[in-house]
């Protein structure tokens, strides 16, 4: 009996914690449909009627769909580059015994632990020297070198790919690059998919670097655009509009999460077990 009560209490606590995770989003959705006045005076979970007028305020302040589009324009190519070149680098490091291999791997390990802010100033200095301020190039091209993902994929490859398979392909006369494309990439694809999800989320949510590189509003990514909500007194006076703008930035991610939470969670688990 005592066990049953304890068990019920545990479930209750777990549910309370789940509510704590969801409540802010729920309030956000409800308040996005209410007027500033309603929000100021009461809390409710019944949607209001001001969605259209809130949307009018938001759309007059900024073009949030442009921000969406810009974020996709950066996140998709950056993720693809990370996936392809990390796989390639991991394969090169895992399956070939060339001179300097251990040194390269050691440098990769060191850079995995170096905090991103350390290169921030030098990075901006380089970007402005190359006249790439307001360009998406410095936000996309560096994705080719992702040390953490190379590290993970190297481990993954060493545990899934047998060198004998490569030897067999070589005896059949296959070229090294086509061995990589035809044999290695398919074997690695579950690991690549796992890592790509994490890379995409990281790109999509990134704020500091795009904020530094981009100064024109029409170039802003979604997080940078959302951050400009502070600068309008119009919109600050209307809480409903803020909730709506934030909701528009959040809802697509929640929808995607509903469909692929399993993969997202396995990508995090993988990050921890690499050790």
């Amino acid at each position: 009996m005592a066990t049953k009560i304890k068990k019920a209490l545990i479930y209750l606590a777990l549910i309370v914690l789940a509510v704590a995770c969801l409540l802010p989003f729920l309030l956000m959705l409800v308040n996005a449909t209410r007027s500033g006045n309603e929000i100021m005076t009461s809390v409710t979970f019944i949607p209001g009627k001001s969605l259209a007028s809130n949307w009018k305020v938001v759309s007059e302040f900024f073009n949030i769909f442009q921000g969406f589009f810009n974020s996709l324009l950066i996140s998709i190519p950056a993720t693809l580059l990370t996936a392809y070149f990390s796989a390639m680098t991991a394969y090169g490091l895992a399956m070939y015994r060339f001179k300097g291999r251990n040194f390269v791997f050691a440098v990769i390990l060191v850079f995995m632990m170096i905090p991103a802010q350390l290169g921030l100033i030098g990075f901006y200095d380089l970007v402005s020297f190359l006249k790439l301020v307001n360009s998406y190039i410095p936000l996309i091209i560096p994705a080719i070198a992702a040390p953490g993902i190379v590290f993970f994929l190297k481990q993954y490859l060493e545990s899934t790919l047998s060198p004998a398979l490569l030897e067999a392909a070589r005896i059949d006369g296959a070229k090294e690059l086509s061995i990589f494309h035809r044999i290695v990439l398919p074997i690695m694809s579950p690991g690549i998919a796992t890592m790509s999800i994490g890379a995409f989320i990281g790109n999509w949510n990134s704020y500091l670097t795009p904020m530094i590189i981009l100064t024109k509003k029409e170039k802003f990514t979604l997080p940078v655009l959302i951050a400009t909500l502070n600068s309008s007194t119009d919109i600050v006076a209307n809480q409903g509009a803020i909730y709506l703008a934030v909701a528009i930035s959040v809802v697509p991610i929640i929808i995607v999460f509903c469909f692929c939470s399993k993969y997202i969670i396995s990508s995090i688990s993988a990050g921890g077990v690499k050790e």
Binding site: I121, L126, I141, W204
Partner: protein, 314 residues
Amino acid sequence: MASKGQSTVTKPKRRKNVNNAGYFFILPFMIVFVIFSVYPVLRTLYLSFMNYKGFGEPTPIGFANYARVFQDKFFWRALWNTVKIWGVNIVVQLGLAFLLTMVFSDMKYKIKGLGVFRALYYLPNLIAATSVAFLFKTLLDWQYGSFNQILMSSGIIEKGAQIKWLLDPNIAPYVVAIISAWMWFGNSFIVLMAGVQGINTDYFEAASIDGAGRWKTFAKITIPLLKPILIYVSITSLIGGLQMFDIPYLINGKYAAGNPGGSLQTVVMYLYKFGFATGSTKQVGYASAIAYSLFLIILVISIMQFKFASRKDD
């Protein structure tokens, strides 16, 4: 004989050629890595020894920037703010993650619904920190925010005695810490849980046959076996946490000043103020020295953490 000698000569040669293909595979990575990762880090180091305002020629000034960091009370205040916010956050974050790991790995209660709960707990981590900042900035607004309204309508606080979550320098840092913990506990829980699931169940069975209780099993079996993962979680959290920027920067609408009362100004916000602000406050050399000072501090704490965590082995 001659043919045999020939084959031993050609065979290693062919292998060497094959291995050299490795250079080809890592080449694109190396080029981009050197240009966009290694060079900026070294360039920042170089600039940290320079007097440089972001234009014109940098002039060398030795360790003057570092001496200035050391004496700059606002740097130390920013560091203290960052450590305080991170410290409260990590206690809550790891505490919750630990409790959840214990609950879901318990052999006796066999709690169900791991998949659903794990997904719900992880959800806040998925949302961009900028959106989280605005969501809470609006929810926690002392006059209009839903949070104070819930407290008032449920009678926890009196009307007129609303709590100034983000305006009181004695409260705001802890609010930011709790928001960070809210964002990250699900992540830590997933990582710890993955670690527990990797532990051989024989250990748990043996412990239960020996009559070890729940806490004892957790303390003597789960925690020691999770140690590598714990080190991983705490060090990555430290590296990420001491670089905290987005939420404290945006949540009060006062940007790099870190209002209220500078209590939310983190080290990276302070660095941003000198490195990227426009106008006369821009001092790129000094900002670089701040970046390296923070790096050295993170390095020292990480090493201490690592040493402390591995010492218990003996």
